[in-house]
Amino acid sequence: MTTATLATPNQAKPAKQKVILCEGNEAAALGVALARPDMVAVYPITPQSSLVEHVAKLIADGRMDADIVDAEGEHSVLSVLQGAALAGARTYTATCGPGLAFMFEPYFRTSGMRLPIVMSIVTRDGITPQSVWGGHQDAMTVREVGWVQVYCETVQEVLDTTIMAFKIAEHHDVMLPVNVCLDGNYLSYGTSRVELPDQAEVDAFMGVKDVNWHVALDPLRPMAVDPLTGGSGGKGPSTFVRYRKGQCRGMQNSLRVIEEVHEEWAQRFGRRFAPLVEEYRMDGADYAIMTLGSMTGAAKDAIDEARDAGKRVGLIKIKTFSPFPVEALLKSLAKVQALGVVDRSVGFRWNCGPMYQETMGVLYRLGRHVPSMSFIGGLAGADITVGHFHRVIEATEKLPSSPAPSEPVWLNEKD
């Protein structure tokens, strides 16, 4: 045997991984523990609560070596982590819904200061009307604040993506906070089979911690952080633009880094997740439906049934929502003649789903008209079933020959 035939990382068989059963919130907590953060700060809120409870238990049981701060509210949670991140710590928290709203002031500041904090959003619908259940409204509401936001489809993807998020956030070409979004209820409390990566393998994947000291406070290298900028005189305006352009560059760089990190993950652990946009059964598809998050499993089952019935339909799933993966999505949209987009939240300004609205911008770049429709379902814990997706497929199939409705279709309106 020559050295040329030795296994490369590409061909290496992934190490055997322990199989466990756990809910999405526990999977996120286990992912956090494997990524070895230095500090977490928490404030529980439904449906995120069991996630931070699992984190607290892992620390209490000695399975995770991190400092934990049980703060008095979410505004303090993120402020505490900003201080820790500025001191070079790897940091983590989780929140959702009203907790995210209460966190908004430091939330905006975090991306501006280029702090690579990882935060799970266990997505929850917006209030009011009162509801404590899942929906993407919370994460969608803050999609324009400069955080990288990725959405998970399965419990396994929650665990794996939570680990990858630290590597993406801390990459020197990115240096941005990352939200790992997991659907409240269906993913947070749904239990399924999960392969638990080995700690040594994760350590090798993460590599030696490489603090980017340009944002970290260090008594040996004193500097000012977050200077006063802006205004209309002196270097104020140009400094502010430099900061904002840097954030935008970090966001665009993250598209590449997200792909690289997912590829490395697939090689090391044998699990391949589409990093930006996933195509499912798009070969020969005349039209497609678009999904986000945990609804995708039922949608894939519906696509299989529709294909068996002879329908030429495929599925496009978005994983990375912020930054919006324009180029990757363009390639997928180029294949179809009609499109139905299913959102789990409401875009009040355009009277459609937010993902639909974003996709309209990409369709414009395609340079030809693709008839399309917005569907809104799964709000406030409502279910989106295989049956609902058959309705989406049937309505989308008719689009080329009938006028697209100006209103969104509310999938659970008559449930």
Partner: protein, 190 residues
């Protein structure tokens, strides 16, 4: 795909039971997903939880509307909730009750019934009417979908809030041994 819907009241452990059953099925090399229904978790209020199992990966993370089997861990629930909604024709009911078959209300869709005096057993074992592990034993006896051994191993890995492992293992075994299984014969009119 085999789909189970659990019916219980908050505090009886219907959600935990679905998770323990999923874990036992995993032991046996199957894929299993369990999802609790979403309500305000109050003791005594009707709750449901769902479990899917399959030899293949399960993708849909949704509630269950047409179950193959119902596990009702509370004897009084059927008075206030339509537990039979959507049950597949010829489906299975595993019911906690001390009544004989003739006195149990059963929908036309039910083909197999497992009856277990789970409250009676629970009061003896736990001194409290917590029936979930007993009814897992009843489910194993009625359907054979999961083995008693796999359920035991699943319990051994669970964290119990209201009782110890030893008590729950006794409860599981008694649920299995003290369940009567009945096949419902329906004559089609000539």
């Amino acid at each position: 795909m085999y789909e189970v819907r659990f019916h219980g009241r908050g505090g009886q452990g219907a959600v935990t039971a679905a998770s323990m059953l999923a874990s036992a099925l995993l032991e046996e090399g199957k894929y299993a997903v369990s999802i609790p229904s979403f309500g305000f978790e109050r003791r005594g209020a009707p709750v449901v939880s769902f479990l899917r199992c399959s030899d293949r990966e399960i993708r849909q993370l949704t509630n269950i509307y047409t179950p193959d089997c119902l596990i009702c861990v509370d004897p009084t629930l059927a008075k206030s909730v339509d537990i039979f909604s959507g049950l597949k024709p010829g489906g299975t009911l595993v019911q906690a009750t001390h009544k004989p078959l003739a006195e149990v209300v059963i929908a036309d869709t039910v083909g197999v019934v497992g009856l277990c005096d789970a409250i009676g057993i629970a009061l003896e074992v736990f001194k409290r009417p917590i029936t979930n592990t007993i009814m897992l034993g009843a489910f194993a006896k009625t359907t054979g979908v999961v083995s008693l051994e796999a359920l035991k191993r699943s319990l051994e890995e669970s964290d119990f809030r209201d009782a110890g492992l030893a008590q729950n293992l006794i409860a599981l075994e008694r649920g299995y041994n003290e369940t009567t299984v009945h096949t419902i014969e329906r004559r089609v009119a000539a």
